[in-house]
Symmetry: D2
Subunit: 122 residues, 4 copies
């Protein structure tokens, strides 16, 4: 199987060109982009909000396309925001994976929803 | 300059292994993952909510690291959710870019916040 | 049973005083408040994200207190934002209930998740 | 000036009747309602995302109506969720105001965005 890769350099160039062509750079500051990203995450929620857990795993072709569109929106704003702040997403992801492994040691976390749960934070 | 790429195949394998090691697959259904993703988008918002637009562009090193962590969380849940639903993120992103280009023609969209704005939808 | 009422006039006065005492009015513009509200909605999500539907109905006392705190945060920002824009929440709620009744006629909507669902919008 | 009050008892009865008429109670569990609420908060964000702070304070009549509709949606889901979990919103709000006063003492918080800011949490 060939590995699936996302060419971030090309994607960032495409997004920058798209904004430049429309004189939209002025809108694409980090504050606004964080709002746009969260707005798309809200649209993703709306696709799942009235489905139960089983139904969320058995999407029709149309439903799956709608989810793909929202995930793409979220990904594009994530990539654009990272670009505006010169954040490397591969480095940030690798760093976060390492932090998560330290935060949730296998022995203490196994099958334990409570440990995994934000409730414990409070 | 070398292109920056994100190896989705490897990242999905790492996330799947992380969940399997902790018996967390049961939590990682699409409905739950959409909530976790939106929760992380909310944390990103909280980093920018009291900053004005200029301040959002002038982050300290610590602030930038916090943003990188939240973007990583969002990216990881996006990748994990795509994996659970067998959605190809590069294909979804390319498809969405094409749709956006059709939806916002350059001539009609140039410098026009109103056209770009959700207000117009209503 | 005595009716439970929320005194919006008093609540808005308390919130305005709280902000004035701290010189925080400058932060409380509609854009920022919409972000703060959505951030709190994200915290609410985090309380439910790994619970299944049954578990979300059987909260412990502590969990219920955490939910109450997040609902209060959401309510307070809703009230504050309405105040800043001079929007009457009772009028807005009554108006929205009327719109919803027209949008979802009983006969067509009964027990019909699909009609109720955002999927249908696309 | 007459005080503006929100009759929660009546509003909860209206929302319960609305759901009962359509056999929608099954959808209105706390997990689903938290998602619906956050989805509406996302729609609110979309109304402000490309506006700068000044523009967010100078809405047209139509824009203000759109904001009122989204605030109403958020309020209605907040009230419905509180009802499902038998949480008193006036008590929760009063309790949260007290916590906030303790968390942000006037002297230490005055005009100090940093203290108020989530950045400090990390």
């Amino acid at each position: 199987m060939k590995a699936e890769v996302l060419d971030l350099t090309e994607l960032q160039a495409q997004l920058a060109q798209f904004a430049a062509d429309r004189d939209w750079e002025i809108y694409h500051n980090p504050k606004n982009l964080s709002m746009a990203l969260a707005g798309e995450a809200g649209e993703l929620l709306e696709l799942f909000q009235w489905k139960n857990i089983e139904e969320s795993q058995q999407l029709s072709t149309t439903e799956k396309e709608n989810v793909a569109d929202e995930l793409a929106d979220i990904l594009l704003y994530t990539v654009r925001l990272a670009d505006r702040l010169q954040i490397s997403l591969p480095a940030a992801a690798a760093n976060k994976l390492k932090k998560n492994a330290a935060k949730y040691p296998v022995e203490k976390s196994r099958g334990n929803a409570l440990k995994y749960n934000r409730w414990q934070k409070s």
